[in-house]
Amino acid sequence: MTDVLPGGWEMVVGLEVHAELHTATKIFCSCPNRFGDEPNTNVCPVCLGLPGSLPVLNRQVVELAIRLGEALHCEVRPSVFHRKNYFYPDMPKDYQVSQYDQPINTQGWLELPSGKRIGITRAHLEEDTGKSVHEGTTGRLHGSEGSLVDYNRAGVPLLEIVGEPDIADPDEARQYVTELRAILLATGVSDAKMEEGSMRVDANVSVRRAGEPFGTRCEIKNLNSIRSLGRAIEYEARRQVDLLESGGRVRQETRHWDEGDGRTHTLRVKEDADDYRYFPEPDLVPVAPDAEWLGRVMASLPMLPAARRARLADLAGLAHDAEAVVLVVDRGQDELVLATVEAGGDIARTMVHVEHNLAPDAAIAPARLAALTRLEVAGTLTATQAKQVLADIVAAGGDADPAQVAADRGFEAMDTSALEAAVDAAIAAQPDAWAKYCGGEEKAAGALVGAVMKATKGQADGKAVTALLQARRG
């Protein structure tokens, strides 16, 4: 972690993430849950909240909520829907059906690659609102000529995932959101696209001097990317420290992140606690998933990113948060590494190829990759040659024999006499370098090895060349 704040200060960050569930239909009606359609086409009496209409809970919504709950190690409990009452034009009923004191998922945690656990307070179900579009130049309410409302999003199922204030810096916040997104994708709960709004993050940020109680927090909205999230948290924490150090006080408020000027701005001040007059939603019955249902969901969960990282890291003898491990799992290529090793491949060479030489969507048969690494280990191919052979195999559809491809390219391993001749030629051509090398200047070997490589068009094995030089030095 880089020191974001001046000495003696620390920040406390808690994130609230809204994830739209990846369901075919909305939470309480059979309208399609689909992004990007013509406004007000995916609507019906229920999601428009027309008088007399009634909600019926979508079973798939509960199923996905349980999936996430299990993936975040939550206690999955019988739950009740409440009404959250407030007037807002893009909310058809002027109340939101949400969960209050009896949410479906509570008390879980999410493990960052570093092994640090961030607590999950709750992950509850609720319905999304519509979207207001303000006519005029800016697209925002201020100065607009009129407003239109699109209710396609009204009634789209959401999980609100409330994290504990366990996050200590912008980097952890980024890791948390990255990891949560990976879990949402792995479990099929959400398509988690921040840019389309199917995953939305609000950050609660406060600062304090080490050892002191929590400071007053501000809630930051409009964080549309993981990059914005990190920048906004850093800016906001510094703003609060500056304010406090200059004798000011932090006011509890909601602030808007402006990506353009890189600052947060006051959106609204919370003078009193909002009174949403929650009460149990009388049009719905409690949701009580039985043990059999929970067991079925649990059994159907895929292996989650943290476990996949651990599995790969242990195989490769690396740390769980090693960059290569995080990257390969994030790209979903860990299965390829496992299968390659299973097929007799060398783990170190496999990791190098998968991390650096294979695009995430590149197809390659694990047995072919395994054979390639064996040729490298045996000294038949150099690293440079192997990389070229691999590219040829992928270009040919992923199932070509590496030995054949190498032969086609003329990558035969050089016999020792040819190599010795090349080494002797290099020594003769660069007497100064040879003298320095013999005088104990190891770096001087570089020029000699380079000359051999050039002479052999890269087919010489660098290690073998070095060994010959050492032998001649005596």
Binding site: G49, P51, G52, V56, N85, F87, P89, F279, D283
Partner: protein, 471 residues
Amino acid sequence: MTARTIAGDVRAGRRSARDVVEEHLARIAEREPELHAFNLVLADEARAAADEIDRRVRAGDDPGPLAGVPVALKDNLCTRGIPTTCSSRILEGWRPPYTATVVERIAAAGGVAIGKTNLDEFAMGSSTENSAFGPTRNPLDPSRVPGGSSGGSAAAVAAGFAPLALGSDTGGSIRQPAALCGVVGVKPTYGAVSRYGLVAFASSLDQIGPFAADVADAALLYDLIAGHDPKDSTSIPGAARAVTPALGQGVAGLRVGMVREMREGIDADVLARVDAAAAALEHAGASVEEVSVPAATYGLTAYYLIAPAEASSNLSRYDGVRYGLRVDAADTTQMMAATRAAGFGEEVRRRIMLGTYALSAGYYDAYYGKALKVRRLIARDFDAAYQRVDLLLSATSPSTAFAFGAKTANPLAMYLSDVCTIPSNLAGHPAMSVPFGVGDDGLPVGVQLLAPTLEEATMFRAAAALEEAMR
């Protein structure tokens, strides 16, 4: 003429549905200007529906058990393409794009929607005086109210505008007007009849139920509308138990309890009819004893916290943004406020404020939370009573029909109209009002039969016995 007779004649081809509709429209033309039972008479639609039924009969089809029977619909039931106002300015002109489940079931059984009936605005009231479109008059004495909130439906049946009507009952809104107009009115078990398409007042209390001139017609309509609906999450799963087969079973061996707590504040002439009903049931072979439902005493108080609380939320959506009335203003917030101030009547505004207060932070536990506890206590006390008896008996309304304006100045006096009916809504139990003679003023008195959850059949048996005793 009963709905049973009409449907029998139409199905057999002895009478045309069109003739039936014309006869009822003629009666409406004669008295509706005075009574104002309807917000809208569906004359053309009813004629077209009747012609279609006649065509099907001629083609050899059976249009169903309500073939050609005119049915009046309370104007808080959604009807596709037909204005549904809840007797409120705020919904004036709104035409729902869909039809309530109960209305669909009636049409599927061959029933003919004859009109949308007047009500207290959003079903909030006990006299139909709170309608934005003017009150309904009691057909038996036009100087008196018909009761409410389903006053238009009760009056329509009492005036012979339709043999059957639907109402909604949140705290007595079917039973009390039925009593005041001298007809049968039924509030089914909560969840027995789908609420889909009923504009909500208080969702956990609202139930749709039938009005009819006699018990067997009420049973006919109940059997048609009861049963599970996947569109209503609170609808009870499975098929409903039919009550019609129970009508002739008599009451021999039934144990009937007279509710001690439901005698206070009831007019003496009304209580005399309740006692006469008890005697009649005893004479027919039932045993009668006095029982206590202590928590029922707190029913009215709990009701006037829970119902307004839910209403304050249910009625939030009338904000001028999407449909109905809109009063323009400088910004959205002011537009919403102006629309709601202009669109809602005084009683609706009063209840929204009561409910908003009851749910507010810091007051929730003391008001709404406590009311929920009372609700559970009432259910518990009913359960205890039903350990000893099969049915309960009480007055439906504390008095016979009262004069216009008699209670409008004092909301609390009006609220007391429902003191005997509210406990059933809070418990979710079925109850019905059956006409049983007249009071000192010669106006009808209704007695109330109360039963445990889904024991409608037992309740109808006793209702049939009371009706028999009056013959």
